[in-house]
Symmetry: C2
């Protein structure tokens, strides 16, 4: 059995504090901005499709640690707004590929970040070293989740 690299107390404190910080930031992210804008998950999914290219519902759900049924709801919203398009899978008749549309690209460019403007502003106030620390921590958080 591998010996933990950090003291038990430091570990527990970090877990508590990270949980609290994450809860706090998600509340702010959810309530900020106009209510009719895309929500956090929709923006994230759009960003993922933009970065990775067309993906299936199931793949997207796995990437964001979410149930396919939940991702379905997110994609339905994006599709209704015209920000994503369906494409049949070339070989597998079950699967459906979702791709970001030109309207989706335009949305990302224009008002995609509206809901997160406060965060952008707050981040730009960080010192260079602090920003570097924060950016380095993001993949660590994702690794904790296990993706």
């Amino acid at each position: 059995m591998k010996k933990p690299a950090h003291s038990e107390a430091a570990l527990q404190a970090a877990v508590t504090e990270l949980s609290l910080a994450v809860g706090q930031i998600i509340r702010r992210l959810r309530t900020e901005g106009n209510p009719d804008a895309l929500n956090l998950s929709q923006l994230g999914t759009l960003a993922r499709l933009d970065k990775n290219g067309p993906m299936t519902n199931a793949d997207l759900a796995r990437t964001e640690s979410m149930k396919p049924q939940s991702m379905n709801t997110i994609l339905a919203g994006l599709e209704q707004e015209g920000f994503v398009e369906r494409r049949p899978h070339p070989t597998d008749g079950r699967q459906i590929l979702f791709a970001i549309s030109s309207a989706g690209h335009e949305m990302r460019r224009q008002r995609g970040i509206a809901k997160r403007n406060w965060m952008t502003a707050a981040m730009s106030e960080l010192e260079p070293e602090e920003f570097k620390t924060l950016v380095a921590a993001i993949p660590l958080i994702r690794r904790l989740v296990g993706s």
Copy 2:
């Protein structure tokens, strides 16, 4: 006007990635573990009371960037389980101080030494340098939110 310390592209990428990571971790935090256990907000509130001493509903709500009505629900749950107690405010008849009870302390202590949750386990797998980075990032996240 102050010039941002980081490139626009790096800033936007960081905002997107942090938002996604936060969403991911909050989903896992919510769904993991037995459903009858205390939820994330309840555990956080208990930790806060343990650390800061007795606080009012309004103070707790401010600390966690939450509405008093929402904090009320959280405190009601904790009170029902016997993990917090009410105390009248010495001078202001409107205010009610909430304090962690001995049962609340016991619950926290047992949780600490009991079976680690996934996050504790995952964190203990981090390299010392990585753990240091993650811990350093937590207050930065809280600062972003503005607490």
